[in-house]
Amino acid sequence: MSHGGGHKWGMAIDLDRCTGCNACMVACSAENNVPITSEDQAGKGRLMHWIRVNRYWQSGWPRPESVHIPVPCMHCGKAPCEPVCPVYATYHNEENLNAMVYNRCVGTRYCANNCPYSVRVFNWFDNKWEGPLDEQLNPDLSVRSRGVMEKCTFCIQRIRRAKEQASTENRALRDGEVVPACVQTCPPGALLFGDLNDPDSEVSRAVRNLRRFRLMEHLGTEPSVTYLKRVKGGGT
C-alpha cells in the first residue's frame, strides 16, 4: 500500500450489479450472531438485520422492474448517532469506523432514533438460539444481551484478523484482504470493501466512478458507503 498513515474503511455498492437476492443479509446474520426475528416482531418494528435490501418498484405489470439498494451502516464521517449517546457507547474510531461498545450501552435508543438510515437495531429480548443453531454462533463476537443497541461493524473481527495476519507476516495490509461477510457472499460482486486512504484500492477506484452517489448526502452525514447508480440500458 502506497499511502502513509492509517486506514479509512469504506464500501462501494454497485446497484447495476445488485439483483436483490438478500444473500448479504443472510451472510451478515450468520457471521455476526444477529438474531432472527419473528414475523410478528418484525411487524412491530423490531426486525434485526445489520444490512437490509430496500426494494423500489420502478414499473408495474406487465413489465415489473425494481431497484434494490442494500443498506448497511453508513459509518458516517459525521454520524448523527454519536453525539446523542449519553454514555459514549457509540463513538468514532481512528479508522473512520462508527464503533459500538455494547457494555456501555444502557438502551436509551437515542442513537437509533437519530439515525437517518434506520440501520441500528435494538435487542428487545434476550435472544435464544435453539439447538443446533447455538453451535454455529461466531466465537469472534459476543452475543448481545437484552437492552443493547447493535449495528453493522464492517465485520471488525475480520478487519482485526487480516491486520494480525499482515503483522505476523511483517507486511502491510493488501487491498482486498479485508472482506466483510456481505462482500464475500455477494454472488454478482456488487459490494466492494477497502481502504479509502489508498488511492489505488478497488473501492477508491469505484468511488471515483461517475455513477457515484451517497444516501441522503444533503444531511451532511458524510457516509462511508458510496453507491453506484443503476443505469438502465440495453445489453452487456
Binding site: V101, D140, S142, T153, E164
Partner: protein, 163 residues
Amino acid sequence: MNRPILLAVLLSLFAATAFPPGEASALSGQPVPFSHKTHVAGNGIDCRFCHIYATRSASAGIPSVAKCMSCHRVVAAGNPSVKLVARAADEKRAIAWNRVAKLPDHVYFPHHKMVNAGVPCLFCHPGVDQAVETVQKRAFTMGWCMACHRQRGVSIDCWTCHK
C-alpha cells in the same frame, strides 16, 4: 481389625467413589493434579513447550494428552497423577481441564500478539511458574490492560480488544 486402619480403609473407599479419576479432585480443582512448579521451576521447561500456540494464535492452547505422554512414557511414569494421564492416553480420551484464567465473553485477547511483542508470560500470569496448584493471581481488569497499552503506545481503541 483396629479402629484407625478401618477408618483409613473407609476413607479411601469414600475417596475412590467421591473423586473417581476424571472428576475434579478436592485438592487441585483439576481432573488431574498438575504442578506448574514441578515442570517450570523444577525442570526448566519453557511455557511454549506445552502451550504451543502462544506464539501463533489467539489461544495459547492446552497441551494434548499425547504431548504429556511424549515425556511421561518414561519420566515419572509411576506417579499416580501421571498414571491418570496415561490411562486417558490409552483410552484416547482428552482430559477436561478446568479453565483458571478467565476473560469475559466480550474481550478478544490474542496471546500471539502479546508474546511476540515481548510481554513475558509471567507479566499477566505472575507466580504460575512456582504454583503447585494453578491459580490466576492477577485480576484482568480493563484499567490494568489500558495502563500497559498506553505505556507501550499500543492502540487503546475500544474495538481493538472488545468484540
